[in-house]
Every structure is written in structure tokens, then in C-alpha cells.
């Protein structure tokens, strides 16, 4: 019983330490991740639901395919992956430490023959004296050696950057650090959204799940602007924000400019410029109506979507308005309104009235010329709100990963042995990475080695 238990435990341990598992996990993660890039994630658009059968919809939903990166099986894969990483390191690290702290000071016969990098120096004279001389030589050309005496022979061992064997483990550790950072973020952080009308302030925002959450302070939107390129493409969205505590501006957080790619952070909560719009609720628009054949100009004050009857019985309705028409009507700029005009007893006409281009309004041949004079509508700014206390841990992990990969790939543990026997000395070399570069260095050193004289 006990033995089978033990062998079971051992085989589980072996499984978790195995690189076969690592390879399967890496490939599984790669393949399953594809699902989420093909199927929509999160709230499903109704057009998508309409295109798939209800059986499929049910199966996919059960399998978590519509939120697959948070599904139990994907998270489980990541946990198994982490376990794999930890067990593998627990198993190998002691060996690596031992390898570094207790290097092979004396090369065995087998190792000597297997090395491709070796050279011989023949000498006559005192072995002891040659040992001294070659020790100095190694210290000067490479690094100071450790000397071991064995049955009359001297074994000189010198090494450089042995610690770089740990680079791989730094990379592995960094993966875990990043995971920890992500877990902290998902437990202690949050994300949300808030809209603030120009001149107004908010004390709370809406979390992703729809819940309102207090900020603990107040944010005032002093102003909002959009700039455009001459092509009509937006150039910059700009909110001017002020943070208020107890109704008073916080020093240093007054009239802060927030644009895309330049957020504002206060008390760990960051505000990102993300959208904007027209706060249409309750705002009024001003319209001028000029009879083409002369006569008094009629001024109207209307609300979006509310029909008004003019003096001559024409029905007027403002469908929508914008303070900057460029993006909708290239070549034009400034405020404009889309309006619907229904002359008495005729079909409705829809067209755009511009504030800055009255001549365009006049070009229409109708009896009445409609102009848009602007509105008292205010803009609102849409801000993404986020707090993520784990993000620093993630950046530490990323830094470790970059350093670790650099060490693992581009640094190498170089070792040189010199064996001094009666009549001759032999030099051997080995490097953990980048053999070609080491070979050049070794050739250089071993050439000088062969020219050493007493």
C-alpha cells in the first residue's frame, strides 16, 4: 500500500516537473486562446445571436466560450502552468546552486576527451614553478583560478559569470510575479466609466457591472473641447478637470488637462479621456426662419425631436444637432442641425442647416430659408475610471522577465581548466551559451598560453 501511495505521489510530482507537460500546456494555451479571438466575448451582440443555432449557443455558453479567458478551464490551465513552473524550479534550483557554488574543480578523464576546446603546452622544469606562472597567467587573461592538488598534478579552475545560469529561473519567477500582480488587480482593483457635463461635477462613477461606486472626492469638468485636422479627422479631445475635496479645489489638481494618452491620477484612481458627446437633455436650439420673398425673420427656440408649427402652418422638427459637423460633412465646419420640414399639405423634407454657411442654406429653392444659430447645449466628457493596485507588481514582473531573458540568452558561463603535470600543461574551455564567441576568446587565450615562458 505504502509503496503504491509513494509511487503515485512520485508520479504526480514527476508529471508536474516534466517538460512534456510544459510543452502540452504552452500548445494548449496557444490553441484554446484562439477561440476567444473568433467568438465575441462579453455581452453578445443580438446580430450574432441571430446567426447561430440555439443548441450551439447553449453549448458555447456552458463551456464559457463567450468569456473564455475567465472561464474555469482556462484559469485552471493557468494554475496548472504555474504549478508546473514552481515544481520544475524546486526540482532544479538546488542543482543549479550546487553547480555554481561547487564547481567541477578537477576535470575527469571523460570530460577532458569530450571537450573540443583544448591546447597543450610542453615545458621542462619544475612543475610547482609552472603552476605559479600559469596561475598568474589565468588571473591576468581570464580570472583568478582555484588550485587543487591531486596526486602530484595541479588542477587550475577559473570561471566567469557563473550566476548567469540563474537567468532562466528569473524568467520563470517573473511569469509568477506577473500572475500575482494580475490576481491583486482583479481582487483589489476596479474599472468603470463616468460622464461629466461641462460645468458639472460627479462624486461617483459606474462600475463595469453597472453598480454606482463613490469616488471619495468630487471631479468637476471645467471645459471640454475637440480639435480637428483640416481633413475633418479628430486631433485632440481635451477635458479640463478639477478635483474637489469638501467642495474646494485640491492644490495641484485644479484645471488639469486630460487628453487621450495623458490621464490624470488622484488617490490611486486614474481618469482616462475616452469619449464625448452632446448633453442633449433639456438643451435648447436656436433656429432662424427667413421667408425667401422677404419679410420678417422668425426666430425659434426648439428642443430636439419636439415638433413646432410655424406661422404659415409648416411643421418643423429638429432631428439632431452637433457643435462640429466636420466629421459628418467633410468640407463644412462649425455647428449644424439635421432638420425635418413638412410644408402644409406636402411630404416631409430632411436636410442640414449650417451655422457658418448661410449661403448653403439659402441655395435650397424652398419658400423658407432655415438657419441654425447654435444651442445652449453642453458637451459632456466620457472618462474611463480605473484603479489597479496590482499594476506595479506586473511591471516588476515584466522588468524581471526582460532582464532574465537577456541574461539567459546573451550571457554565458565560461569555464577554463588548466591541468599542470610533469612536462606539460593542458588547457580546456567550455561555455554555456554563445560557443562561437567563446571559441574566439579561448583561441586567443590558448595561443598566449602556448607562448608562456618562465
Amino acid at each position: 500500500m505504502a509503496t503504491t501511495d509513494k509511487s503515485f505521489a512520485t508520479s504526480v510530482w514527476d508529471l508536474f516537473c516534466s517538460l512534456k507537460l510544459t510543452l502540452s500546456l504552452l500548445i494548449s494555451l496557444a490553441l484554446t486562446s484562439i477561440i476567444g479571438t473568433i467568438l465575441p466575448q462579453g455581452a453578445l451582440p443580438p446580430e450574432y445571436v441571430a446567426t447561430i443555432s440555439s443548441a450551439k449557443l447553449q453549448i458555447y455558453t456552458k463551456l464559457g466560450f463567450f468569456d473564455m479567458y475567465h472561464s474555469w478551464w482556462f484559469i485552471a490551465l493557468l494554475y496548472v502552468f504555474s504549478l508546473n513552473l514552481v515544481s520544475c524550479s524546486i526540482k532544479r534550483l538546488p542543482h543549479v546552486f550546487k553547480f555554481i557554488s561547487e564547481p567541477t574543480l578537477v576535470l575527469g578523464e571523460g570530460a577532458r576527451n569530450s571537450f573540443s576546446l583544448k591546447k597543450e603546452l610542453k615545458f621542462s622544469g619544475d612543475t610547482e614553478q609552472w603552476k605559479e606562472r600559469l596561475t598568474d597567467f589565468l588571473a591576468k587573461e581570464f580570472s583568478a583560478p582555484v588550485i587543487t592538488e591531486q596526486s602530484g598534478d595541479y588542477h587550475l579552475f577559473a570561471q566567469k559569470t557563473a550566476w548567469c545560469r540563474l537567468g532562466v529561473y528569473v524568467v520563470h519567477l517573473s511569469v509568477l510575479v506577473i500572475f500575482i500582480g494580475a490576481i491583486i488587480g482583479s481582487l483589489a482593483g476596479y474599472k468603470g466609466y463616468v460622464t461629466i457635463v461641462e460645468g458639472a461635477s460627479v462624486k461617483a462613477f459606474q462600475k463595469q457591472n453597472g453598480e454606482q461606486m463613490p469616488l471619495g472626492f468630487e471631479v468637476l469638468c471645467e471645459k471640454f473641447n475637440v480639435d480637428f485636422y483640416t481633413t475633418g479627422a479628430p486631433k485632440e479631445f481635451r477635458s479640463i478637470l478639477t478635483v474637489l475635496e469638501n467642495g474646494k479645489p485640491v492644490p495641484g489638481y485644479s484645471k488639469v488637462k486630460v487628453i487621450v494618452n495623458e490621464p490624470m491620477t488622484y488617490k490611486g484612481i486614474t481618469f482616462y479621456q475616452s469619449s464625448y458627446g452632446q448633453a442633449s437633455e433639456g438643451s435648447e436650439h436656436f433656429i432662424s426662419v427667413t421667408p425667401r420673398n422677404g419679410g420678417a425673420v422668425e426666430k425659434l427656440t426648439v428642443r430636439e425631436g419636439v415638433p413646432v408649427t410655424l406661422m404659415d402652418g409648416t411643421l418643423f422638427k429638429l432631428l439632431e444637432a452637433t457643435q462640429e459637423v466636420r466629421q459628418f460633412a467633410p468640407g463644412f465646419s462649425g455647428p449644424a442641425a439635421r432638420i425635418e420640414v413638412t410644408p402644409k399639405g406636402a411630404a416631409p423634407l430632411t436636410f442640414i442647416a449650417f451655422k457658418n454657411f448661410p449661403e448653403v442654406n439659402a441655395q435650397r429653392g424652398d419658400a423658407l430659408i432655415f438657419g441654425y444659430e447654435g444651442s445652449n447645449a453642453k458637451q459632456y466628457t466620457g472618462l474611463q475610471v480605473a484603479k489597479d493596485p496590482g499594476v506595479w507588481v506586473v511591471w516588476i514582473g515584466c522588468t524581471l522577465m526582460v532582464i532574465g531573458i537577456f541574461v539567459a540568452f546573451f550571457m554565458s558561463h565560461k569555464r577554463i581548466w588548466v591541468i599542470v603535470t610533469k612536462g606539460h600543461a593542458r588547457i580546456y574551455g567550455n561555455a554555456s551559451k554563445n560557443q562561437a564567441a567563446f571559441q574566439m576568446q579561448f583561441e586567443d587565450i590558448s595561443e598566449k598560453f602556448q607562448e608562456v615562458k618562465i
Binding site: L19, K20, T22, L23, L26, I27, L29, A30, S33, I34, G36, T37, I38, Q41, Y69, A182, K191, Y229, T231, A233, P234, K235, E236, F237, I259, V260, N261, P263, T270, Y272, Q273, S274, Q384, V385, A386, D388, V391, V394, W395, C398, M401, V402, I405, F406, F409
Partner: protein, 285 residues
């Protein structure tokens, strides 16, 4: 002389270089090989000047930004980095024939960019107005180019094994005598990925840093992000298979080809077929 004329010169140079390299394969004449390399170098010089000019031209137009802001510009940069790496291999390792398998990638990229895409300089939308764009694009594309080179070398490896069989005895004469030995190809494949992997890692990290800076989420599983991670997983598998399981040769050559296929999908497939935050390049207009 403006940048778009120079880009045409570049494309033509890569076309000529590819043709000359194929002639080199057929003739095995050393001076033909040298000509192939020199034409590629000339193309690289023209392209370098063209990229710098385009940068300057964007400032002259008042919408100044580094020429890496849309699909066209990124493809041009991609082909530039591929040739840069080829020059490095040519000078450092002296395996000229690699050009026949690497320069065509740069040619395809340039030809597609010049013929199939809107080449105009566009102003930057607010989301792209950040220095992170530069760090992110440069690291990603240097990585992609290294993977392209690794793929070209792996194809050479697979062709060579298929023709010679697995026997190591080099057949005298034959086209294959031009190819570097299998061991060298295998090693070059590994080396290219050793350059590409850290760069892709940096590319993903700079992308995450930028996303966090610009909208408060370093990772949102958007298709582009996810595909870059998929590519990263494939090459991580490559490295582990090779260093610890002793995989080498054919199997790692195939992994390298699969990795590059995933890279291409990450780069183009996601832009053209899937939707997401990174649709920035739009598609070929």
C-alpha cells in the same frame, strides 16, 4: 526625389535582388551571388533614406509623426528590418544563399504595400499620439523580422533534408552544396529566434504599458493582444523543446515555420479578418 519614388526604387531593387538570387541558385556562380547581395544592400540604402524622407515630409505637412502609424508604414518598416537582418547574416556568417530565402519576404511585403495600399501620409488620431507607439512598433517589428528570417532559414533546412535525406554526407556538386550545412542552418534558426523572442517579449510589454497608460488596462484580451501571446507561446515552446528536450533539426524547423505563420496571422489576419482595438491600420484601401 520624394519618398514615394524611393519606395518604388526599393521595391524594384528587392525584385531584382530576388531574381538575381534565384539565378545564383541556378548558376552557383559566386559573382551572381555577390550581385544579389549588393542589389539588396542598395535597396536597403534607398529604403532607409525613403523612410527618413517620409518622416520629414510628414512634418512638412504639419502632421509630423514617425512613419509607423498605419498598416502601410508598418509593412514598409517590416521589410526594412528583414533586409537589415539579412545584411547582418551575410556579413557575419557569409552565407549569401540565405538571401534567396529571405529577400523574397521583403519583396512580397514591399510589393503589397506599394501596389495594394493607400500610401498617403495621414495625421495621427488621438489614440496613437504617444511615444509608446514608436517603442511598441519598433520592438514588435524587429521581432517579426527575426521570425521571418528564422522561417526562411527553416525552409532551407527542410528543403535540404528533403533532398539529401537525413544523411550528413554532403553530396558533391548539386545545388545543395550552396546551402550552409544542416547544423549551421539549425543553429541560425535558433539564433534568429533568440533575437526575435526577447524583442517580441519587449513588444508585448511595451504594448501593455501603453494600453495601461492610455486607458487603464494593461491586458484586455483583444484579438491582437491574444494573438501576440499565442505567437509568444509557440516560440516559448520552441525554446523549451530545443534546450531541454534536445529537439533539433526538422521538428524545430517546423515549429519555426508554424511560429511565423502565427506571426503573420497576428500581424495581418487579425487586422484584416478580426476586429478589435488594433484595427488601426485599417485594411488595404
Amino acid at each position: 526625389m520624394n519618398s514615394s519614388m524611393l519606395f518604388n526604387v526599393t521595391t524594384f531593387a528587392y525584385l531584382l535582388s530576388t531574381v538575381v538570387f534565384f539565378a545564383f541558385l541556378a548558376s552557383k556562380n559566386k559573382s551572381v551571388g555577390l550581385a544579389g547581395s549588393l542589389i539588396a544592400y542598395a535597396g536597403l540604402a534607398a529604403q532607409t533614406v525613403a523612410i527618413a524622407l517620409r518622416w520629414k515630409e510628414s512634418y512638412d505637412m504639419g502632421v509630423g509623426h514617425a512613419p509607423m502609424s498605419n498598416l502601410y508604414e508598418s509593412i514598409v518598416f517590416f521589410s526594412w528590418t528583414i533586409i537589415l537582418l539579412f545584411v547582418y547574416i551575410d556579413i557575419r556568417y557569409k552565407y549569401r544563399v540565405v538571401g534567396a530565402f529571405v529577400v523574397p519576404f521583403a519583396l512580397l511585403a514591399m510589393a503589397w504595400a506599394q501596389l495594394g495600399m493607400n500610401t498617403g501620409i495621414e495625421p495621427l488620431v488621438p489614440a496613437l499620439q504617444s511615444n509608446w507607439l514608436l517603442y511598441h512598433v519598433i520592438t514588435c517589428f524587429l521581432g517579426y523580422a527575426a521570425f521571418a528570417v528564422a522561417c526562411g532559414i527553416s525552409i532551407m533546412y527542410l528543403i535540404k533534408t528533403a533532398i539529401e535525406g537525413t544523411s550528413t554526407s554532403a553530396q558533391a556538386g548539386g545545388l545543395m552544396s550552396l546551402f550552409p550545412p544542416l547544423k549551421v542552418l539549425d543553429d541560425l534558426n535558433y539564433r534568429s529566434i533568440m533575437i526575435g523572442f526577447p524583442l517580441l517579449t519587449l513588444g508585448i510589454i511595451t504594448g501593455a504599458a501603453w494600453a495601461n497608460y492610455a486607458w487603464g488596462t494593461y491586458w484586455s484580451w483583444d484579438p491582437k493582444e491574444t494573438w501576440s501571446l499565442i505567437v509568444w507561446f509557440v516560440y516559448a515552446a520552441f525554446l523549451h523543446a530545443r534546450i531541454t528536450k534536445g529537439w533539433a533539426g526538422k521538428r524545430t524547423a517546423w515549429l519555426s515555420v508554424i511560429g511565423f505563420a502565427a506571426t503573420i496571422f497576428c500581424y495581418l489576419g487579425v487586422n484584416l479578418l478580426l476586429s478589435g482595438l488594433h484595427s488601426y491600420g485599417g485594411s488595404a484601401k
